[in-house]
């Protein structure tokens, strides 16, 4: 078998999180009653006309800037003509020859190195409606709520060389987009969709092979699996002496295969032409400046700053930055209590696991910054032991109450008065005379076992450090009892 190189380019459709649709004032909210969020404009009723939502333009510019693109100062829309029942005007208003952004790149960490993936263009367009097929009645229904929801399509250069690179590109892109706060990037809700263009060529050959376009990729995992499958299919096709046909193929999640949908010969002629209902205009420099200034701190910048300002390790800073909400939570906590190292430990080793277990983001919980930092301080100064601290945190996540209230409610106060502790220690020492003997004859490590027994008896409420000290004192200096 020959050596093949894989070439992948991705098209990402991003639904913007603007309040209203791209060309009318209808709400963009997801999951509402079908056709409740429509008007003559997004229904494409005869005589209605589109008017551009300025927020969409701003988001488009923001995305372009974050992807290091050149912004086209001429804003122009075009019509893409095709028939489909979910497209009420039988054309989609999109951007053809003057996309809002062009010629940028995204730096992606993949396979242990940073690779610059080219961005060919990003353009604004309107989403189509949704068809609901009813096999029982042999009919189809159309929900136009999604019609006119703003989209930005981001087209990468064919710079990816493996399914893993494509996967890493997508996660990096998604993280970047989450920082821009332009979309909720939720593939399940369809607010982020991805098509992949895949081709192979013999190692060393410059000319691109014939590509296929993969659709129906419903998760990043699906993107990866579909590409892997498609690459193997293409290799087998070539090895069998056949040719790759330029076509669109659908990913079948169940069977984990790609299936031919339509070939190039059947491809649409979209008959693009300038949208006469929207007059082209130049972006004012003040608006371009506004977009540039509104650009938030991007993940890579934040990472560097966390390492430099808070002396975090690359790993810790990376974990925090991976989750925008967590990164913001971290910084707010540091502001409340200046101890970045401890806060990082708590977030990464405890809080994050609790969140993962609950499938929640930090924003979705009731946890307050003050309560969280107070809790860490209580553990640090010995008021609570680690275990109790963790328990208090789980209650905080669920109830939003502060540690003092929770400690009282749950009877979690640490047992730390010497009298009660000594009673317990007496019992334990009596029950474990052989261990005490062993310790006395030099097996210091066995103290841990006795501490554990005491903790058991206090149901974990005691301060283990203190118990350890008391036991040591008792064994080595009998007179203290």
């Amino acid at each position: 078998m020959k050596n093949y190189e894989t070439v992948i380019g991705l098209e990402v459709h991003l639904q913007l999180n603007t309040q209203t649709k791209i060309f009318c004032g209808c709400s963009t909210q997801f999951g509402r009653e079908p056709n409740s969020q429509t008007c003559p404009v997004c229904l494409g009723l005869p005589g209605s006309l589109p008017v551009l939502n300025e927020q969409v333009l701003l988001s488009g510019m923001t995305i372009g800037l974050a992807l290091n693109c050149t912004i086209n100062s001429l804003v122009k829309f075009d019509r893409k003509n095709y028939y489909y029942p979910d497209l009420p005007k039988a054309y989609q208003i999109s951007q053809y020859d003057f996309p809002i952004a062009k010629e940028g790149f995204l730096k992606v960490e993949t396979g242990g190195q940073v690779k610059k993936m080219g961005i060919i263009r990003a353009h604004m367009e309107e989403d189509a409606g949704k068809l609901i097929h009813s096999p029982e009645t042999k009919s189809s229904l159309v929900d136009y709520n999604r019609t006119g929801v703003p989209l930005v399509e981001i087209v990468s250069a064919p710079d990816m060389r493996s399914a893993q690179e494509a996967y890493d590109y997508l996660t990096t892109l998604k993280l970047l987009l989450s920082y821009l706060d332009v979309s909720d990037c939720d593939m399940e809700k369809g607010s982020l969709r991805c098509d992949a263009n895949v081709s192979i060529r013999e190692q060393g050959v410059q000319v691109l092979g014939t590509k296929t376009e993969l659709k129906n990729l419903n998760s990043f995992r699906a993107v990866k699996n579909a590409i892997d499958f498609e690459v193997q299919r293409q290799i087998q096709t070539l090895e069998a002496g056949e040719r790759i046909i330029q076509e669109t193929r659908l990913w079948n999640e169940e069977k984990q295969i790609t299936v031919s949908m339509r070939s190039k010969e059947e491809a649409h002629d979209y008959r693009y032409f300038p949208e006469p209902d929207l007059v082209p205009f130049m972006i004012e420099t003040s608006m371009a400046e506004k977009a540039r200034q509104a650009l938030p701190e991007l993940p890579t910048e934040k990472l560097t700053r966390f390492i430099n300002d808070y002396k975090l390790s690359l790993y810790d800073a990376g974990v925090l930055v991976q989750d925008k909400n967590l990164a913001f939570f971290f910084e707010a906590c540091v502001k409340a209590w200046n101890n970045p190292k401890k806060i990082t430990n708590w977030i990464i080793s405890i809080l994050k696991q609790e969140l993962n277990a609950r499938r929640l983001t930090i924003a979705q919980t009731k946890l307050s910054i003050t309560h969280f930092t107070e809790l860490i301080q209580k553990v640090e100064n010995g008021t609570l032991n680690n275990l109790t601290g963790k328990e208090v945190l789980t209650h905080m996540l669920d109830t939003g109450k502060d540690s003092a209230t929770l400690i009282q409610e749950k009877g979690l106060t640490q047992v730390s008065d010497d009298a009660s502790l000594n009673t317990i220690i007496d019992q334990v020492l009596a029950e474990n005379a052989d261990i005490v003997h062993a310790i006395k004859s030099g097996k210091e490590n066995a103290i841990g076992f006795l501490v554990g027994q005491c903790m058991k008896k206090t149901q974990g409420k005691a301060n283990p450090k203190k118990i350890g000290e008391l036991i040591k004192g008792r064994i080595h200096n009998v007179s203290s009892s």
Binding site: G47, L49, N81, A90, R271, V279
Partner: protein, 479 residues
């Protein structure tokens, strides 16, 4: 004179002097519709439902008005005189309708037109032809033939039409009334069912210039629902009526007086020029070298836009829905094909095919793009002329109204009847047609005055000065 034969400014004056009751005017117009419309057929929908007039409360302008069937009236049948929009009642008012409602106008119904405004004779209407009130075996012009005929036949005091390549001015000329195509962007297109979005404009059709200025006052202005409407101040157009034409510089483009023009039309136009000269206007012949390319350019651009604008009529959401008796392809493609097959007339299909062709990959550059470039050249002809002149005067149409059926089998000769009006739409400038005489056959002749962008005032000024010295606009048809 009967009440329905009055102009709006006469009615308004009568109202202020308490000698005219608008309810009587309305009844008189309704009576005329009942009596004459069976033979004229200016209306396609004139039933009361949804637009009934409350005699007890009327607004500032209780003027009965006919609306072209491509302008949306909320909950009222709006069909573009096409089978494909059968049963369509828009859930919203066009911006012009909203404005007219606020001003208190009384809607009489929807006026006939060429299907989707594709034509120059109103013969392509799915609902049948409209006849020219001056001569019943002649066409009223088109595509706003119903609107012009309604005003000429005194079946409406005012009418709204739409003009993409002459569709207000040519029927106004054929019917002996005043029709204005405002500057592109002067009047909101929101709610006008699009033919060619970059060319369409709604405009007033009235019995004289003063009424035209009054009606433009009511419909003009920026609309945030229409990105192509101009955000510039709107003057009171009636102010232009007090000014004379002394020392105005008016151009006569020689390309508009070559072969094909009717001698009687030519004579009437030059009579009008002489009259204005006598009033102090200065005339000079000029050349507008790209005039010859206007019709070809127009039919590429207008049909390209139309092919896309009409794609939405697919049987899915509203209007006609048809399925073939036997499945041919997939159910949805069958639905599209059969609906459009049954729903569109021959001219609509012709234009959709022409436009689809010129936008197709491989032909786009040679047709659409080329035509866009020529459009720029045509516009430059006007820019150049308006550097030295206040207005341009031409005939509105090369002939008077032609016979019904005369051109239906020859689309090209039909297209050429708009030869003097089309350039104006391509350039986006305003132009008005007003009566300037009658041919021996008894049919009216129209004079076209073309102005600078957003200078409709100049058109009213010259037109009004001309009317002051003539009686053509006072002639009423006897039916």
């Amino acid at each position: 004179m009967k009440l329905n034969e009055l102009t709006a400014h006469e009615i308004l004056k009568g109202m202020s002097e308490k000698c005219i009751n608008p309810a009587d005017v309305y009844r008189s117009v309704r009576e005329a519709i009942k009596t004459h419309d069976p033979k004229i057929h200016a209306y396609v929908h004139h039933e009361d439902d949804g637009i009934a007039f409350d005699e007890k409360k009327f607004g500032r302008f209780p003027i009965p008005i006919a609306i072209k069937d491509n302008i949306c009236i909320k909950n009222y049948p709006t069909t573009c005189a096409s089978h494909i929009l059968q049963g369509f009642r828009p859930p919203y008012d066009a911006t012009v309708i909203k404005k007219l409602r606020e001003a208190g106008l009384i809607f009489l119904g929807h006026a006939n037109m060429d299907e989707f405004a594709f034509g120059s004779s109103t013969e392509s209407s799915y609902f049948g032809v409209t006849r020219n009130p001056w001569k019943l075996d002649c066409v009223p012009g088109g595509s706003s033939g119903g609107s012009a005929a309604a005003v000429a036949a005194n079946e409406a005091i005012w009418a709204l039409g739409s003009d993409t390549g002459g569709s207000i001015r040519q029927p106004a000329s054929f019917c002996g009334v005043v029709g204005l195509k405002p500057t592109y962007g002067r009047v909101s297109r929101y709610g006008l069912i699009a033919f060619a979005s970059s060319l369409d404009q709604i405009g007033p059709i009235t019995k004289d210039i003063e009424d035209n200025a009054l009606l433009l006052n009511l419909i003009a202005g920026h609309d945030e629902m229409d990105s192509t409407s101009a955000d510039i101040p709107v003057p009171d157009f009636t102010h232009a009526l007090t000014k004379d034409v002394k020392d105005l510089k008016i151009a006569i483009p020689k390309e508009y007086f070559v072969e094909g023009i009717d001698e009687e039309v030519k004579t009437s136009i030059f009579d009008a020029i002489e009259l204005l000269k006598a009033k102090g206007a200065q005339f000079k012949e000029i050349s507008m070298p790209h005039t010859a390319y206007a019709v070809a350019t127009y039919y590429i651009l207008a049909t390209a836009e139309a092919s896309s604008n009409l794609a939405r009529f697919d049987g899915v959401q509203y209007g006609l829905r048809a399925q073939p008796s036997q499945q041919r392809r997939t159910p949805i493609i069958d639905l599209y094909e059969e609906t459009r097959h049954q729903g569109f007339g021959a001219e609509a299909k012709r234009r959709i095919m022409l436009g689809t062709y010129s936008l197709s990959s491989g032909y786009y550059d040679a047709y659409y793009l080329k035509a866009q470039k020529v459009r720029t050249l045509i516009k430059q002809d006007f820019d150049e002329a308006f550097k030295s002149f206040d207005a341009i005067i031409t005939p509105t149409a090369p002939t008077t109204a032609f016979k019904l059926g005369e051109k239906t089998s020859d689309p090209l000769s039909m297209y050429l009847s708009d030869i003097y009006t089309i350039s104006v739409n391509l350039a986006g400038v305003p132009a008005i047609s007003l009566p300037c005489g009658f041919a021996k056959n008894g049919l009216p002749i129209g004079l076209q005055i073309i102005g600078k962008p957003f200078d409709e005032e100049m058109l009213f000024r010259i037109g009004h000065a001309y009317e002051q010295a003539t009686e053509w606009h006072k002639k009423r048809v006897s039916l």
